[in-house]
């Protein structure tokens, strides 16, 4: 005890606080202050930058060729048919003609676009089992898939959940009319449309000697026409959970109006540079009902640029902000100068 005391006394002879810059709140510091030159120069720099940026984006967005066709309106009879769910097994085909005025050069993408489809609804977006989609043998009863988990007889659904159940299942073909008599099928790539990470990491088929046995003991979701292992019978690497259409659908959209990539143009023969101008027809197998939910379906053909698609919003927003910033810069300058004059007046 005595020892301890004397030690303490040696280490701390007094209760005087340390004289460190930190403890005395005297750390060296930079004290920036908004001054007229710095504020105004930043306003003009940023304003001009935004203005130029906006113009660039607008120009590039305008270079995008895009065609959008609302086929849920055009294929009215099919839409009507699908409104009654008892007709689920009746096939309905629909053709949509259109003329491409200009060549669509470069990469051409075909999208389907849904309106008023709430993929971002909390309960909807939650209704999936990522573990199941990773090919793991999980008890989906405990997942968020309810009520799309099991059938009354206990057979689990594969894949489970509301998202998978409501998968977009129209098939869209495009034929190019070389002349009024001959039409050729436009070649499309149905894989390679999803993110690499989704295709190779996030989605995995259950492992077994073949795909159908991997899905044994499970059954398709109620709205599906065929089980998961038959999604693409031609390509083993695009089947089951790793089917690109399925993966893209499972990546739920942020807004009730969205477009999902459906096909990419395969650059062969006449289509080596893109879609040539001319007459085309979409051949649609109409399965997906949207009119009951007051939704719309569109098919979109589009090229892309460095800034994305044809959306002009970003370009306009940049231009407007740039203009406003420059304008604000002028107004601030005027106010500042006027005030300075007033100040000198008072001093005199």
């Amino acid at each position: 005890m005595k020892n301890k005391n004397s030690q303490g006394a040696q280490e701390c002879p007094s209760r005087c606080p340390d004289n460190s810059a930190f403890k005395q709140q005297k750390l060296p510091a930079w004290k920036p202050k908004l001054t007229a030159p710095s504020v105004l120069s930043s306003f003009f720099t940023i304003g001009v930058f935004c203005l130029l940026m906006g113009i660039c984006i607008i120009l590039s967005a305008r270079s995008v060729k895009e065609i959008q066709i609302n086929y849920s309106d055009i294929c009215l009879s099919c839409s009507k048919l699908r409104e009654n769910s008892s007709n689920w097994d009746k096939e309905c085909n629909c053709s949509v003609h259109f003329t491409l005025q200009e060549n669509m050069l470069g990469d051409v993408f075909m999208y389907y676009r849904l309106q008023n489809f709430y993929q971002n609804h909390r309960r909807y977006a939650l209704s999936r089992s990522d573990a199941q989609l990773l090919g793991q043998d999980v008890n989906i009863e405990n997942s968020n898939c309810a009520p799309f988990t099991t059938y009354p007889n206990g057979t689990p659904m594969a894949p489970c959940g509301a998202i998978a159940n409501s998968m977009f299942n129209d098939s869209i073909q495009l034929s190019y009319h070389l002349n009024s008599y001959t039409a050729i099928q436009v070649p499309w790539l149905k894989s390679g449309n999803s993110w690499w990470s989704d295709k190779n990491v996030k989605f995995r088929n259950p492992t077994s000697y073949n795909l159908s046995s991997a899905f044994a003991g499970t059954t398709r979701p109620p709205y599906w026409q065929k089980p998961a292992y038959l999604l693409d019978e031609e390509d083993e690497r695009n089947n089951g959970y790793i089917n690109d259409d399925f993966i893209i659908w499972m990546r739920v959209s942020a807004f009730p109006t969205f477009r999902n990539l459906y096909r990419r143009l395969h650059h062969t023969n006449q289509f080596a540079d893109g879609l040539p101008a001319g007459n085309y027809t979409f051949h649609i197998t109409y399965n997906f009902p949207v009119t009951r939910l007051k939704g719309k379906k569109q098919v979109v053909l589009s090229t892309i640029t460095w800034s994305g698609g044809s959306n002009l919003f970003l370009g306009i927003a940049y231009t407007v902000s740039g203009a406003v910033t420059v304008l604000a810069g002028f107004i601030i300058t005027a106010i500042h100068l006027k005030l300075r004059k007033k100040k000198t007046y008072f001093q005199r």
Binding site: D130, L293, I332
Partner: protein
């Protein structure tokens, strides 16, 4: 007599809350009692209901655990300190400091003492602030017990007395002992908090102990102190939360009815939900869970951390460290720092806080000539008293001419000091040869007698009939014929002595106004001269006394003595007769001169009070002391000046309040602190520039504070050093204890403690101002940040069917407030400085925004909300517009939910980082590190959580795999982030710049001046001394000592 203990409380002071065993349960219980924590627990329960849960449980439990841990650690350390200080206090009980000072820790019945007749001298400064000695006397039967421990142990008296109460000046009880009953009164009781003086030992029987003691009964209840910012926060935020929840819930009901009904083919309702109204009800709770991040748990813990940090800065401040006492400032309640920047009223104790309770003989006027120079003006060598072996070494005097006059044998000077050595009630004790100890009843008298002693008129001893004085080395014994005692009406005391050569003399000292009326007409000239000197002394705030003598003939004295004896023996109205008799002889006196005693102020009191007044802080002095002394101090510390001509005094039956105003005059005859007049009291008092309340009891001090709190809604601060200040310290918003002095109780009850009154200036103007400034800045930013963060959900609600879908990844929601955006704002809240400490001290006006609560009030709060709302709007709608119906640069996903979440989250982190960079006005290395570090950590965590490995292990918890990689490689995502940042930040810069340019505050001007290296003109006014005629009366005397001396009881 220990048996009495058992009926009442144990005498140990206990302020600590936990011990090792009870810590966890008690602390958890306490934490859940806090509204905020209970609220978060409630949220957690909500999240466990699957129909409601819009967020995983971990988004709440992770921060909640962090908060609980931090709070528990803080509580534990706090309690450790309390244990320490409790032990310190409890162990002091029997300590004997400097041989003669005892602190009493319980209320005792005095049984016997070392002094004759069972007398016991006590000082009650800690109880009522009075500095004079008081006498207590034991019952004669018990005083016979003496120091005999065995007999004392056998003492088996029984005391029947009143229940514990808070009346300090009353005690009634009866002692039953050996079949006799003895009535007991206040004179036989020693109260806790008294200090034993001039008494070697005493024995007593404990009557009240611990919390039952009168002192503790006076200390009022301890209340939980909360800052006004806390209250504002709670009401506004929860109101806001409920409003938002209701809007979204209604939206959900409508959506479910109009749109959801059709969408139900893809999305069934849960089993429990069957109507859109019920769905809306559930959605309300779901949104409460999501939107609760406007008041995240981290807010509470951040506020605590900042307050703790500020507390440490106060503890560490070397400029508030008192080297003499080796005491640094100490923060005892860490949650009140920002209120230090909002103080409007200071209630100060006088004795020991403003004054040092040391009286020194400073100047004198003898026969029309002044002696003594101001210590402040010239640094002359003090007079060397080495010729006098009995001189008190602590005594210092700065005028050599006085000692010259004495040595030259100036008769008047000799008479002057003879008077000082004879006319008093001091007792002397010569312990060893040459070591003279005076037992003084009032410090003023002590100072006078000590002065006389040093100048060669040494009062050596007294008997009831004689006084022995060593006059210039030769012993003279005077016959003491009479002591004409002091009382409050007479304001003077006299002695009549007979010199060895038979001359009879009357020596009188008293208040100048009284004394001048009873002088011989021949003194006119001297009187006006002395009067001028008195004016001068009073102007310096010195306490003055006039001295006079009178030669008496033997016949005259004998004649008068008869009258006196008649008066003494009269049965009724004896006091009146006595007073008349005194009056009779105390006239036609010859003026000798006047003395000036300095009631030493604490260091720097005047400057401190002046700066605090400049900062628009009103200082009220509340003291238990007499009106004269209190006013004197008021003048000496320049709280009262001569420009204040309308001094008015209000007497009341509960005490005296004395107020000085330079504006209006109110003649209120009676004013009770209780009752209907309290409104008028506050009205009048607040109109006054200076308020001095004297003769207030400890409880009344608290009542005054409560009154101001209630009627003025102002932030109050109470500062004091003694146990009598505890109640006031506890009831004020902020209580400050002066430590290092005798008592520790005030410090224990206080929120802050330091060693000197002058540190108050630094505490308020520097630390308080900074704390308030930083806390407000922190809160503004914090609310901005969280509204920007949270309200994105509100906008998103309109696009996701009001389904309580979150915009962000759940992990982002969990981590945003505790990792990504916590440290930069914490660094700002801890280190930011708008102006440096020197400017804070010099420009007291800088303190005003705090008092007016300009930096964080409802208006500011709504500005913060609006700012957050705007940012959230930009954060949501820019990516919405940019990604609407479009694809990425590779034609693939860009408008999917997860990419959108990553884009908005990244924009948010960048925008709030840029905003904190703009808000930070003091960039230390720590700020830089935290701001850049936060962004770096965000990206590091983002990529980790979106990595393949972590997904494969927990596929259900990390569904964002690969998202960061894919989204952040898109040019358009970065374009969106950049635009969002520009759009969010530019308007803020515009407003801020224009505000500073068009309507600069003092802070802005100072910052600008600092840049230009040009000092602004100093706002500090010089404090001028005032000179005025003011009658100051110096006795802090108590009646009855004269009688005690002549009766010989105390010899």
């Amino acid at each position: 007599f220990l048996y009495k203990f058992r009926f009442f409380s144990n005498n140990r002071i206990k302020t600590s809350k936990y011990n090792i065993l009870t810590f966890l349960p008690v602390n958890l219980f306490e934490q859940f009692q806090r509204v905020a924590n209970a609220y978060f627990l409630f949220l957690l329960i909500l999240q466990l209901i699957p129909e409601i849960s819009s967020l995983s449980w971990f988004t709440t439990i992770v921060p909640l655990m962090v908060v609980f841990t931090i709070t528990a650690v803080k509580d534990a350390t706090d309690d450790c300190f309390r244990h320490k200080s409790d032990n310190q206090v409890n162990n002091r009980q029997a300590e004997n400091i400097f041989n003669i000072i005892f602190f009493l820790q319980a209320d005792l019945l005095l049984l016997s003492s070392s002094e004759p007749h069972g007398l016991c001298y006590i000082e009650t400064a800690e109880l009522d602030g009075e500095t004079n000695l008081k006498v207590r006397q034991a019952l004669p039967v018990t005083s016979e017990l003496g120091p005999d421990i065995r007999r004392l142990a056998e003492f088996d008296g029984v005391v029947v007395c009143e229940p514990p109460n808070n009346k300090l000046d009353k005690f009634t009880g009866v002692l039953f002992w050996k079949d006799n009953r003895y009535s007991l009164n206040n004179e036989k009781v020693l109260l806790r908090g008294c200090v034993l003086r001039n008494t070697d030992w005493c024995f007593g029987m404990v009557i009240f102990a611990g919390p039952d003691t009168k002192l503790m009964q006076n200390s009022g209840r301890t209340k939980f102190k909360r800052t006004s910012i806390d209250r504002l926060m709670n009401t506004l935020i929860f109101g806001f939360l409920v409003c938002m929840g209701i809007i979204l819930a209604i939206g959900n009901s409508i959506w479910e009815h109009q749109v959801g009904a059709h969408f139900r083919i893809y999305l069934f309702w849960n089993e429990v939900v069957n109507s859109s109204v019920f769905s809306g009800f559930l959605t309300f709770w779901s949104y409460i869970i999501i939107l609760n991040s406007v008041v995240p748990i981290s807010l509470y813990v951040s506020v605590e951390v900042i307050r703790l940090g500020h507390s440490y800065f106060i503890n560490w401040d070397r400029k508030m460290y008192c080297p003499q006492k080796d005491t640094p400032a100490e923060v005892r309640t860490t949650t009140l720092n920002e209120e230090l920047g909002q103080i409007e009223y200071i209630f100060s104790d006088k004795t020991g806080t403003i004054t040092q309770n040391i009286m020194t003989f400073n100047k004198c006027s003898i026969n029309g000539k002044t002696y003594g120079k101001s210590v402040f003006i010239n640094k002359t060598v003090p007079v060397d008293f080495s010729f006098n072996p009995l001189a008190d070494r602590k005594f210092q005097f700065y005028d050599h001419s006085l000692i010259e006059s004495i040595k030259l044998g100036d008769a008047m000077v000799h008479e002057f000091f003879r008077l000082l050595s004879l006319c008093h009630t001091v007792m002397s004790e010569e312990k060893n040869a040459g070591e003279l100890i005076y037992q003084v009843q009032s410090p003023d008298e002590g100072a006078l007698v000590t002065a006389a002693r040093n100048f060669g008129f040494i009062f050596k001893s007294r008997t009831p009939e004689t006084i022995t004085v060593e006059e210039m080395g030769k012993l003279v014994t005077y016959q003491l014929l009479a002591i004409l005692d002091f009382n409050n009406i007479r304001k003077r005391m006299s002695v009549i002595v007979q010199t060895p050569d038979g001359q009879i003399k009357l020596y009188c000292k008293g208040a100048d106004t009284i004394l001048f009326e009873r002088l011989h007409p021949s003194n006119e000239e001297l009187m006006s001269l002395t009067s001028d000197h008195l004016e001068e002394f009073a102007g310096e705030g010195l306490r003055t006394l006039a001295l006079a003598y009178k030669n008496l003939t033997e016949e005259h004295f004998k004649e008068w003595f008869k009258i006196l004896q008649e008066a003494n023996t009269s049965v009724d109205s004896r006091n009146d007769y006595l007073a008349a008799a005194y009056e009779e002889i105390e006239k036609d006196m010859m003026l000798l001169g006047a003395t000036a005693i300095e009631d030493k102020l604490q260091e720097g009191v005047t400057e401190t009070i002046a700066s605090l007044s400049l900062a628009n802080i009103k200082i009220w002095v509340l003291t238990g002391d007499k009106q004269e002394t209190a006013m004197n101090i008021g003048y000496s510390c320049h709280m009262l000046t001569d420009t204040m001509n309308e001094i008015f005094i209000v007497a009341s039956h509960t005490g005296m309040e004395n107020q000085d105003s330079d504006r209006e005059y109110f003649a209120l005859q009676a004013l009770a602190l209780e009752g209907d007049l309290e409104n008028e009291f506050v009205e009048v008092a607040c109109m006054c520039k200076t308020v001095i309340c004297c003769r207030v009891t400890p409880l009344q001090k608290a009542q005054v504070v409560e009154l101001v709190k209630k009627h003025r809604k102002a932030v109050t601060l109470a500062i004091g050093d003694g146990a009598n200040d505890i109640s006031m310290i506890k009831s004020a918003h902020i209580g400050i204890g002066i430590s290092g002095e005798e008592g520790m109780q005030a410090v224990l009850a206080s929120d802050y403690s330091f060693a000197q009154f002058r540190y108050l200036k630094r505490l308020l103007l520097v630390h308080g101002r900074w704390s308030y400034f930083r806390m407000c800045k922190f809160l503004c930013y914090f609310f901005y940040k969280n509204f920007a963060f949270t309200l994105v959900h509100f906008w998103f609600g309109f696009f996701c069917g009001f389904s309580a879908q979150t915009v962000y990844d759940q992990w982002f929601i969990t981590l945003f407030n505790i990792v990504y955006a916590s440290l930069p704002v914490l660094a700002m809240g801890l280190f930011d400085q708008d102006v440096n400490e020197q400017n804070s001290m010099d420009y007291a006006k800088l303190y005003e925004p705090g008092q007016l609560n300009l930096l964080f009030n409802k208006r500011k709060f709504f500005i913060c909300i609006a700012h957050g709302l705007y940012t959230s709007f930009a954060l949501f709608f820019i990516p919405y517009g940019a990604f609407y119906n479009t694809a990425g640069e590779d034609g693939k996903h860009i408008a999917d939910y997860q990419s959108f979440a990553v884009t908005v989250a990244t924009s948010l982190v960048i925008v709030v980082s840029v905003q904190i960079a703009l808000d930070t006005s003091y960039w230390t290395a720590i700020n830089r590190f935290f701001i850049l570090g936060s962004i770096a950590v965000y990206f590091a965590i983002l990529f980790t959580m979106h990595s393949d490995g972590i997904f494969v292990i927990f596929p259900n918890h990390f569904p964002f795999v690969g998202n960061a990689r894919n989204s952040l490689s898109q040019i358009s995502v970065w374009l969106v982030i950049l635009l969002t940042t520009v759009v969010s930040v530019m308007p803020v810069i515009t407003f801020q710049f224009l505000k500073e340019d068009l309507n600069p505050t003092l802070t802005d001007q100072l910052q600008k001046a600092r840049r230009k290296q040009k000092p602004l003109q100093n706002y500090m006014r010089r404090v001028y001394r005032t000179n005025s005629r003011r009658s100051a009366y110096a006795f802090s005397h108590q009646e009855g000592f004269g009688e005690l001396i002549t009766s010989g009881k105390n010899m």
